[in-house]
């Protein structure tokens, strides 16, 4: 998947006009590539104590990311963009939904995550 994202980024870079942030453009390419690749659904079921995490991440961050990985992929995309600091309008433009719907989804995802974090 990473190789495909890099390939798609290289192929589409000549069309990048610079009217949006580079990170926004890269997020679009990455998301569009990930969701249009033929792959198995990547949802993780966690049970028990999580093993060693990524260096540099606090335990709380690690638990949060593990909880996020159990969400459906579209919700994972929305919350990841939100956590990266994009506002509802920007998330809506990248995903293709209205800012109001983004707000509703984020609210629901937060409720789901708080329930999940109790179990992880």
């Amino acid at each position: 998947m990473y190789q495909e994202i890099v390939l798609q980024s290289w192929k589409t870079y000549p069309a990048f006009r610079g009217d949006a942030k580079f990170s926004t453009w890269l997020y679009r390419v990455s998301l569009n590539t990930i969701f249009t690749l033929n792959r198995k659904v990547n949802r993780v079921q966690y049970g028990g104590v999580p093993e060693t995490g990524i260096p540099g991440r606090s335990d709380e961050s690690e638990r949060l990311y593990k909880a996020i990985r159990t969400l459906p992929e579209t919700e994972r995309a929305v919350i990841s963009l939100h956590l990266e600091g994009y506002d509802n309008r920007e998330v809506g433009e990248i995903i293709g939904i209205t800012p109001n719907l983004v707000a509703v989804k984020i609210h629901r995802i937060r409720q789901q995550l708080s329930t999940l974090l109790k179990d992880i």
Binding site: A15, V29, T36, N38, E73, I95
Partner: protein, 201 residues
């Protein structure tokens, strides 16, 4: 020294890969693993095959003397040419890469529509070309095996009935087999795309 620096130093002189990656034409030639990109490559191969088949049919015409068979092969050539033209139009429409200008939902919808366009073309091919080709093959085979002219077969009610039954049987069979193959190759992927679109709606 970082891993990247080590890798760069190991890059031997004369290795043109890093420079080639800056070349658009080189990039365009690298194969993508996106299902739609694979579909586009397969469509191109089908178009090339259809061109050779049409040329072969055109070549066979010179050796046929019966107007009935010429008519049948002529119809096949027309269908083949139509398949080539519509296939080529679809080939030009299909994207070679993801479209960053699209939102995620637009990209998913675009992919689903592209697959559906390709499928609708496949249905037309399976309903018309395969059965007609089978019927023409049946007659040509009969001519080659018996030495009789096509009129000999086509004035025999039993043979006509058999030919008719063959075409009636082949049309749904070809459609069903094509659909089975389509579902096997792309069914799960399309279901995932549609589910993601539903989740975003």
């Amino acid at each position: 020294m970082t891993d990247l620096e080590q890798l760069w130093r190991q890059n031997r002189e004369g290795d043109t890969l890093p420079e080639n990656l800056m070349d658009e034409h080189f990039l365009a030639g690298l194969p993508s693993k996106l299902p739609l990109a694979k579909l586009k490559r397969n469509l191109f191969k089908s178009i090339v095959a259809a061109v050779f088949i049409a040329l072969a049919y055109a070549g066979v015409l010179f050796f046929l003397h019966s107007w009935l068979v010429v008519l049948g092969v002529g119809i096949l050539i027309i269908f083949n040419v139509w398949t080539i033209i519509s296939g080529w139009r679809l080939f030009l429409q299909l994207p070679v890469s993801v479209t960053p200008a699209h939102s995620l939902k637009q990209e998913l919808q675009y992919h689903v529509r592209s697959f559906e366009l390709w499928w609708s073309q496949q249905v037309k091919v399976s309903l018309f070309i395969y059965p007609v080709a089978a019927a023409a093959g049946f007659i040509i085979g009969g001519i080659a095996a018996t030495g009789h002219q096509p009129e000999f077969f086509l004035t025999r009610p039993r043979i006509l009935l058999f030919l008719l039954l063959l075409i009636i049987l082949l049309m749904p069979l070809c459609y069903w087999l094509d659909r089975l193959l389509y579902r096997h190759m792309y069914g799960r992927h399309l279901a995932a795309l549609r589910q993601a679109i539903d989740e975003l709606s």
